[in-house]
Structure formats: C-alpha cells, structure tokens
C-alpha cells in the first residue's frame, strides 16, 4: 500500500514538473519575419521563372535545331526548256544515292498550296503558276551525310539548289545562347540582390535583438552558439520564403502553358509550339526550380551566419 502511495506521488510530481516546450532564445517574431519571407519568396519566384525560361529556351532550341538538322530541302526552279517532273525524279534519285539519306520525296502541289495558304488564302490553284517545287530530304544520320557531295551532284539538274538551313540554325543557336546567357546573368544578379537584402535584414535583426545578444554574451555563450540561434531562424525563414516562391514559379509556368493553349487558336498554337516549344517545363525544369528553393534557403542561412558572426565579433568585447 505504501509502495502504491510512493508511486502515485512520483507520478504526481512528474506531472507537476513535466517540462513544457522550451521557448526559443531568439523569439521568432523578433526576426524581421514577414518582410524577409516575402522578399525571399519574390527572389525565389524570379529565380525560378528565369531558370524555367532558360530551360524552355534551351530545350526548344535543341529540339528545333535537331528537327531542322534532320532535313534538307532541294528547290527546283522552273527553267526554260526543262521538264519539271523529270528534274524532280533526277534530283530525288541523286539525293537517295547519298549515304545517310533515309528518304527523299517531292512536295505535291497540294502540299505547296497548303504551305502557302496562310499568305495567299484558301482555294489557290498552283497548277496555273510556274512555281518552284520542293523536295524534302530526310537525313537518317545527319552526321554521316556528305551535303557537299549532294550539292555538287545537283549541279547536273538545271535550276536545282540545296537548302541546308545552316544559316537558320546558326541564327537560332546564337539567339538561344544569348537568351541563356542573359538568363544566367539575371540569376546572378538576383543572387547578389538576395545576399544584400539578407545582409541588411540580418543587421537590422541583430541591432533590434542587441539586448538578447548582450545577455547571451555575459552569461558565457560563445559567438558560435549565438550565431547558431540566429542562423536557425534565418534558415527557417529562407526555406519558407523559398518554398512559397518556388511553388509560385511552377504554378506560373502551368498557368502560362494553360493560357497559351486556350487563348491562342489551335493552328497558331501549333506553330508557336513548333517555334518556341510547348511552354512545358518537363520534369527536369520542375526539378531545377525545386533545386532553387534549398539553394536560396542555404544562401540565406550562410549569408546571415557570416553577417551575424561579423556583428558578434564587433560587439562581443572579447
């Protein structure tokens, strides 16, 4: 009976003194919370959108360049005294004799009418006009095809010229490279702006928490301990802001993809898709934006830690 009483007392004592959650040494509200979260969210959003834009441009450029690189076109102009159909057959046969060419076929008049329809309107009858005819040559293995040889062979067909799209590809690659470089530059500027903003926010926070810092100093806390207390707060803020901005950036691309599909008419949408891709980030793009979040959070934590350590070394008096 006595044992039961003792156990009951022990339990009662345990309940009475059971520790509640210990408060953080640096109160959450004292760290320039909402403003900093908003700032980091905006910076992460901008980084995510920029990174996503770079990914889209690069993916589209690679896809476009690859598609265009797999085809060349032979154009045969009508010439006095030449039979167009005969020239077309000769050109096709010459093209098919080149190693690496998988197919060569002439575009029918109907195909040409369809191509010219956006500019000349529907119901066009090209049979009445002497227009150049096109032969599309598909390259099974673009690297192994000797286009110089094909060009030389085609000299045997009067009015035939080879269009390799090399100038277009060069132009596209230059444009895409410029856009990617600009995107990277913007990313660097955003990172620098984020670092500066976090430095100012951290210094403001440290100044407003000077009393806590002083108390911690005189009770024997090391600078590393104090920095750790503040860094934990900034890491949490950086992560929260980063997640908000990152999710916002991904939603932005979904919204743009949805809007491009619904606002632009189908035919134009297809042409836009051909030229600029489908505004679809893909898994790698989304992963890229997701990777921005820990990068921004870590950047915030590292920047604040360095700023805090500098502040503490100036104020500790040791």
């Amino acid at each position: 009976m006595a044992e039961v009483s003792i156990e009951t007392m022990t339990v009662a004592t345990t309940v009475k003194t059971s520790p509640k959650r210990t408060a953080a040494i640096v109160p959450e509200r004292s760290v320039a919370g909402r403003t900093l979260v908003l700032l980091i969210a905006i910076m992460t959003f901008l980084s995510g959108v920029t990174l996503g834009g770079v990914v889209l441009v690069q993916k589209s450029a690679i896809a476009w360049s690859s598609d265009v690189g797999r085809q060349v076109t032979i154009q045969i102009r009508p010439m006095e005294g030449e039979v167009m159909d005969s020239n077309i057959r000769t050109a096709i046969s010459l093209a098919e004799s080149i190693p690496g060419v998988s197919d060569a076929h002439a575009l029918s008049l109907a195909d040409s009418e369809k191509l010219l329809e956006p500019w000349l309107g529907a119901g066009l009858d090209l049979s009445q006009l002497d227009i150049p005819r096109l032969i599309v040559v598909d390259l099974g293995d673009p690297k192994s095809v000797d286009l110089n040889l094909l060009s030389k062979d085609l000299q045997a067909v009067k009015g035939a010229t080879l269009e390799t799209h090399a100038a277009w590809r060069q132009q596209l690659n230059t444009m895409a490279g410029t856009l990617v470089l600009s995107g990277v530059l913007v990313l660097v500027l955003i990172v620098v702006a984020t670092v500066l903003a976090v430095v100012f926010a951290t210094r403001g926070t440290m100044a407003s928490n000077r009393e806590i810092v002083d108390v911690l100093h005189f009770i024997g806390a090391s600078n590393a301990f104090i920095a750790g207390e503040f860094q934990g707060r900034f890491l949490a803020l950086g992560f929260r802001g980063g997640v908000i901005g990152g999710v916002g950036a991904v939603l932005f691309f979904f919204a743009v993809a949805g809007a491009a599909g619904s606002i632009v008419p189908d035919q134009a949408s297809a042409q836009l898709g051909f030229l600029f891709g489908r505004f679809s980030l893909g898994v790698d793009g989304i992963l890229g934006i997701a990777a921005v979040v820990p990068v921004i959070a870590s950047l915030t934590a590292i920047t604040s830690r360095l700023t805090v350590r500098r502040f503490l070394s100036q104020t500790s008096g040791l």
């Binding site: 003194t17 520790p19 210990t22 408060a23 040494i25 109160p27 004292s30 009393e211 806590i212 002083d214 108390v215 911690l216 100093h217 005189f218 009770i219 024997g220 806390a221 090391s222 301990f225 500790s316 008096g317 040791l318």
Partner: protein
C-alpha cells in the same frame, strides 16, 4: 612549497597591478589600480557616479581588457588570453545588473536556466537544480511567470539566480538594489551574503550609504579613477 588547497586558492585571487583603462583615445577612466581581492571575500565597490565603477566591473567581467598594467584572474594575465580562454574564464563569473536584464519572452525558469542551456546541458539534467535554486530565492511559485509580470524584487532575485546557477567563483553586481526599496535592498544583500558564505567571491557596486553601513564588508572606493580599499 604551496599545498594543493593553497595553490587552488591562489589561482582564484584577483590581482590588479598598475591597471589603467581608457576608451579609444580618450582620457584614462581608471588609473594605476593596484589591489588584490582574496577568494571567498565580499567587497562593496563604491564611489560617486562616473567614478568608473561600471568600467571596473566590465574589466572583471572580461568584456574589457586593461589599456595598461596587469589584471590577473584565475592565475592568468587576462591581456594574454585568446578568445576561447576568455570565454571559458567568463563562465566562472556571474553578473547581476541594476536593470535586471532578463529576457522578457522567457519564463523565470528559462531565464535562470539560460547559462546552462548555452552550455548545451539537457533540461532533464538541470531542471531540479534550477527549481531548487528558484525556491531558495523565493521564486518557487513564479517559475512559469514572464518577467514583465514580476515585481522589481522578484526580477532581481531571478537575475541573481541566473547569475549563480552556473556556480561561478566570482559574482559581480552592478547597483543590484538600484531599482528596489530599501527593505528589499537589505534582503537582497543578505542573499548575496548567503552566497558568499558558500564560497563565492562577491563584488557589489553600490552608492547607497545605508547598505554600506548595514553590513560590515570591506569597501573599495573609486574616486578620480583610483581605488582605495578599507575595512
């Protein structure tokens, strides 16, 4: 030959030798201080406002280094210590301020436990010690109260408890009775005297003549940057 006990006692002596202190390029606040404080002693530090009491306490708290001369604490010249050694030494020194300097967002218990928390001790280890100390200073029922809800006397007792929870060898007090009435002042000084009986060296800065007269402890008087020890 010095016996081990004498050696340990010697290492806890505080010794000033021709110590001077100035801030930046300003005039010397403290000049040619040469005196010795024995371990386990109790000294009042007195002097008019601006005489340098707080500066002397800051030297003893190691938050300032002498501009010249030698200050020896725990057997070492503090001017020659690196940051880690100074930090380690500071953990043997407790301090109580006139304005309490408790953290308002932490409970009385958490404020008192702070010195142990910064050392990384788990709460399960120090909880009973902190509770016992709070009961000893008469704050057993106020453990969960936040400082803004405490009276001046309660705040000062909490500040004293925080200063001694780490069992410091030296306890510094800068006008600890400046914000409480005279009766409570006497009770607080008695509390310091109790701590002194347990072996803690106490240096208590005050300019209240009533307190100085009520207790028979030696006085260090600061005037014109120089100190005289009597009693």
């Amino acid at each position: 030959m010095i016996a081990p006990a004498d050696s340990e006692r010697h290492s806890r002596v505080i010794e000033f030798t021709n110590v001077g202190l100035r801030y930046g390029h300003g005039p010397e606040i403290l000049r040619d201080l040469s005196f010795r404080i024995e371990p386990g002693s109790f000294h009042f530090l007195t002097g008019p406002s601006g005489s340098g009491k707080t500066s002397l306490l800051r030297l003893l708290l190691l938050s300032l280094k002498p501009s010249r001369g030698t200050l020896t604490m725990f057997g070492r010249n503090v001017s020659q210590l690196d940051q880690d050694s100074l930090l380690d030494m500071r953990r043997h020194i407790g301090i109580v301020f006139q304005e309490f300097r408790l953290l308002d967002h932490l409970t009385t218990f958490e404020n008192v436990a702070l010195p142990l928390r910064v050392l990384g001790e788990p709460e399960s280890l120090y909880r009973s010690n902190v509770t016992e100390l709070l009961e000893w200073v008469g704050l057993g029922e106020r453990m969960d109260a936040l400082p803004p809800l405490l009276s001046g006397g309660e705040k000062q007792r909490a500040a004293i408890a925080r200063a001694v929870i780490g069992r410091p060898d030296i306890l510094l007090a800068d006008e600890p009775t400046g914000n409480v009435d005279s009766e409570l002042s006497l009770r607080l000084v008695r509390l310091f005297a109790e701590l002194n009986k347990l072996g803690t060296t106490i240096i208590l800065a005050t300019h209240e003549l009533g307190l100085l007269d009520a207790f028979d402890f030696p006085r260090m008087s600061l005037s014109d940057g120089q100190v005289t020890v009597d009693g």
